[in-house]
């Protein structure tokens, strides 16, 4: 960033920019398409050649893809039939409602957040929708023409062959045979025309629909279609659909998907209604609650909903609850004492002593001096961290109460999950991992990001710290991790790490893989955050110092918000990379989505050797999610750019 010129949107109130827009030559916006084509595609002989050459390349590629996808030899049934396997592997069918509860919670929370956080915006212009519909219609028509004619199927159900190979329809027959596609293209074009005819609004602005409403409305179409058409594995005889009862994808999921859609609409409405009712301050508090919920939800969903802990109540009443209570009350008292007026230096010494005490237990654990519950060690460490932050909350009773309250919440949440995680599950699955397929991809990616983000930020701060010990340690860590391939780290964590652990400690394949991903991803995130840290101008540090903020306050309130904002594009790049890198789980023995397509489905007797369809589908799933992430990042950038300089 040079000399205060932000990278974000143009500064609001930038007069010259507004004038430029006003005096833009009229013909540029109202050019005919013929003119546009001549000017942009065929401006001179060389560019015309490039346009033609690459046009041919695109058409040939599209034809190849279409021929592959629509070929009679393709076994798409392998994908259709195995959708449940691809998304959740062997999660028991009788407990499947748990998976739907997870999806429902995420959908509801997402739509609630959208309702609460929605910025409004100008919406989606009808003209744009119309253009998109037209483009889709044109693409369908082009595809119908490009695809080679189908092979003829004889009365015996086999393809008809002659001396040259398979016999295909004539071109005219093929075009006539694909009437349904023509019809679809025509319907789309007519809808596009109708949409374009919608008059401008009374104030002269172009007609538009709110983007979110449009997206949710559009999603209703596929959901509703499952009620009239049994998408999936079905047969057609005597004019009736015959599906294996309950096995067709559409038949077995139409109720859940409809519930999800209704849930989405309901939570969106609730979110909007609430945000319209309450005032600014209450709204920002609500948003904080929603953000906190997002942090807790993955843990709840994985360990409580998907795993169904089989709680041992005797132990809870005799060990777990008393421990949590003791830490809650004892820790609260310590924090209350530390924040009292005039603690000053004594408070800091107390906090550091507590940190030393907590660290000692960890050393003791690895040396095997005395046994202690792992959660007790972690609790002491958490308390020490809170104590170090305590001096920010000293003084007023209200502030001290807030710190103690925060401690109580943290203790409760932590002890609850520690108990739940250590409890066996009632859900029985054939593999060690609770869930497989795409779900395990999501679970590993989400936990990796949640753990590696704080770690990455800490590493970046350490690397830019003035204290050499932090700087050297962080730099060494980052450089070592970045110099080692991810697959090496994963294999190390899965195969070698368990050998190094103390005798009484065990680690599951899933946990060690997540740990490996976390440490790897944190190093890269740290470098991205460091880029953002370096973009903060010196004046920001000086201004924070001049108003008397402490180093911690300066970092939390001034430096990090700005540097994280500045590094959104590389951070999202790293998020997408992590999401895709989870496909390496297939190599270390987890049944993830890639492994389903690559080895599980091709091994099924009825789909023996059918691999390419599955891989294409898996690529599509990865692409859809990555594309959504990158779109959201662009939106986030635009939205956060508003306040910038």
């Amino acid at each position: 960033m040079d000399d205060g010129d932000g990278v974000g949107a143009p500064v609001i109130g930038d007069k010259p920019a507004i004038e430029r827009v006003a005096t833009r030559p009229a013909e540029e916006t109202h050019r005919s398409s013929a003119e546009w084509i001549r000017k942009n595609l065929f401006p001179n002989p060389f560019n015309s050649f490039l346009t033609v050459a690459f046009g041919i390349f695109v058409l040939v590629s599209a034809r190849g893809l279409l021929n592959f996808v629509f070929s009679e030899e393709r076994g798409w049934d392998a994908v259709r039939t195995n959708l449940r396997l691809i998304f959740t592997h062997a999660y028991p069918e009788e407990q499947y409602v748990r998976v739907w509860v997870c999806v429902g919670v995420v959908v509801a929370l997402a739509c609630l957040s959208l309702g609460l956080f929605a910025s409004g915006g100008e919406g989606l212009r009808l003209r744009k929708i119309s253009n998109a519909l037209n483009a889709t219609a044109a693409a369908i028509a082009l595809g119908v023409v490009l695809r080679e004619p189908s092979v003829l199927i004889g009365a015996d159900g086999e393809t008809v062959r002659d001396a040259d190979g398979v016999v295909r329809q004539s071109f005219a027959e093929a075009m006539a045979d694909r009437w349904a596609w023509w019809l679809a293209a025509a319907v789309l074009a007519v809808v596009a025309l109708a949409v374009r005819r919608v008059p401008k609004r009374s104030d002269g602005s172009p007609a538009a629909v709110p983007t979110l409403d449009f997206a949710i409305g559009a999603m209703a179409l596929p959901v509703l279609s499952t009620w009239v058409y049994p998408w999936g594995h079905y047969a057609f005889a005597d004019g009736e659909f015959i599906a294996e009862p309950g096995r067709t994808v559409a038949m077995s999921t139409k109720v859940p998907w409809t519930v999800m859609w209704a849930l989405a609409v309901a939570s969106l409405i609730v979110g909007r209604w609430v945000s319209a009712q309450v005032d600014e301050r209450a709204l920002s508090r609500l948003r904080a609650v929603v953000a906190f919920t997002w942090l807790v939800v993955p843990f709840v969903l994985y360990w409580v909903v998907l795993r169904d802990p089989d709680l041992d109540w005797d132990r809870i009443f005799t060990v777990d609850a008393p421990l949590a209570l003791a830490f809650g009350i004892g820790g609260g008292a310590v924090l209350w004492w530390l924040t009292a007026d005039g603690r000053g230096e004594l408070g800091r010494i107390g906090a550091i002593a507590l940190l030393g005490f907590a660290a000692f237990h960890w050393v003791a654990a690895f040396m095997g001096w005395y046994p202690m519950l792992q959660k007790v060690r972690i609790s002491f460490l958490l308390l020490a961290v809170m104590a170090l932050l305590a001096h920010n909350f000293s003084g007023e009773a209200a502030k001290r109460r807030r710190l103690v309250l925060a401690w109580l919440v943290i203790t409760t949440v932590f002890h609850y999950f520690a108990t739940v995680m250590n409890t066996p599950s009632t859900v029985e699955t054939p593999t060690e991992a609770l869930i497989g397929g795409f779900a395990v991809t999501l679970v590993v990616a989400v936990f990796t990001l949640m753990l590696s983000f704080p770690l990455g930020v800490v590493l970046a701060l350490a690397r830019t710290s003035r204290l050499p010990i932090f700087r050297v340690m962080s730099t060494a860590y980052i450089e070592v991790v970045r110099g080692v391939p991810l697959i090496t780290i994963l294999i190390f964590f899965v195969v070698i790490l368990p050998l190094f652990l103390p005798a009484n400690m065990e680690i599951s394949l899933f946990a060690s893989a997540t740990l490996g991903y976390t440490l790897f991803s944190a190093a890269y995130l740290a470098e991205n955050v460091r880029g953002g840290l370096q973009s903060i101008r010196r004046g920001q540090y000086e201004a924070s110092d001049a108003v008397g903020l402490s180093t911690v306050q300066r970092t939390v309130f001034i430096v990090l918000p700005q540097s994280l904002r500045a590094s959104i594009p590389p951070l999202v790049g790293q998020v997408i990379a992590t999401f895709k890198e989870t496909s390496l789980l297939a190599i270390i023995g987890v049944f993830d989505i890639l492994r389903m397509a690559n080895s599980v489905i091709p091994a099924q007797t009825q789909f023996l050797g059918i691999k390419r369809e599955g891989l294409l589908f898996v690529s599509l799933v990865y692409w859809v999610f990555s594309y959504m992430l990158s779109k959201q990042s662009q939106r986030l950038e635009r939205r956060l750019g508003v306040g910038e300089r």
Binding site: G4, G539, E542, A546, G548
Partner: protein
């Protein structure tokens, strides 16, 4: 003319007040370059001191040493009876007594105007949020832009931003205000609105130390003018003395260039 002679020229009434900032033989090096050499000066309570001098003369370095944005290497700086040393507690204490306004405003671009102002009172002065916001609004009223409270700094003009920066510094209820070329980054039409706010502040009895190139402001508002060159104090005197009968050759040369 020596420095002690110049101080005599200041009125008796001023000399009787308490010392606010005392500098004794302050030296500062950037590598081999000596930015400040033997700065000795005393600024009294409620006094308005304007520091003049050509660029590179060490004015900004000096003013930045006073709240420890730069560390001096030898000599003493005492603010309101607290000596600036490496002791963090003294630095914290002095920074909460000294407000600073920068040439480049240095507002926090990711916070709204009101959050810019209330951040430090809430987290350093430990005020409650409603109390801090009420104070911030009255300060914005005082600098003439109460209607901009919910905007982001990037949406304001330079003059408005600098006035927010003044309000932000005042929110800490400082006993001294330091101004480091507050109008140098502003478009000409916005300079006056900032100077007006500073004049108003001077009338309320704030102790102020101002590095500036605004000769008009120096002449009208200052109690004393300190002229610096090459890291040294060359001449000290009342505006009348300074603009009408400067004693030093270097001062005359400077005045002939800027007036």
């Amino acid at each position: 003319m020596s420095i002690s002679d110049a101080t005599v020229a200041v009125s008796e009434e001023l000399a009787a007040r308490d010392d606010m900032i005392v500098c004794r033989g302050v030296d500062k090096w950037f590598g081999d370059f000596q930015a400040l050499s033997g700065i000795t000066a005393t600024i009294k309570e409620q006094e308005i001191v304007v520091v003049l001098g050509p660029s590179g003369s060490g004015k900004s370095t000096w003013i930045r040493c006073i709240n420890r944005l730069e560390a001096h290497q030898s000599g003493q700086i005492i603010v309101d009876g607290i000596e600036l040393t490496n002791d963090l507690r003294n630095i914290e204490k002095i920074r909460s007594e000294v407000g600073m306004v920068f040439q480049q405003f240095n507002l926090f671009p990711h916070l709204t105007v009101i959050d810019n102002i209330t951040l430090a009172p809430i987290w350093v002065r430990r005020k409650s949020r409603p109390e801090a916001e009420e104070q911030a609004l009255s300060l914005l009223e005082r600098v003439g832009i109460p209607e901009q409270a919910q905007k982001f700094p990037g949406q304001l003009s330079g003059g408005q931003q600098q006035r927010v920066a003044i309000a932000r510094a005042l929110a800490m209820e400082p006993r001294v205000m330091l101004f480091d070329e507050p109008t140098s980054a502003l478009d000409p039409e916005m300079i006056k609105e900032v100077l007006d706010v500073m004049e108003e502040l001077a009338r309320t009895g704030m102790t102020m130390m101002v590095v500036t190139h605004e000769m008009g402001f120096a002449r009208e508002v200052a109690d004393r003018i300190i002229f610096m060159e090459d890291g040294e104090i060359v001449e000290v005197g009342t505006p009348h003395h300074f603009f009408t009968e400067p004693a030093e050759e270097r001062t005359k040369l400077f005045l002939s260039q800027v007036l």
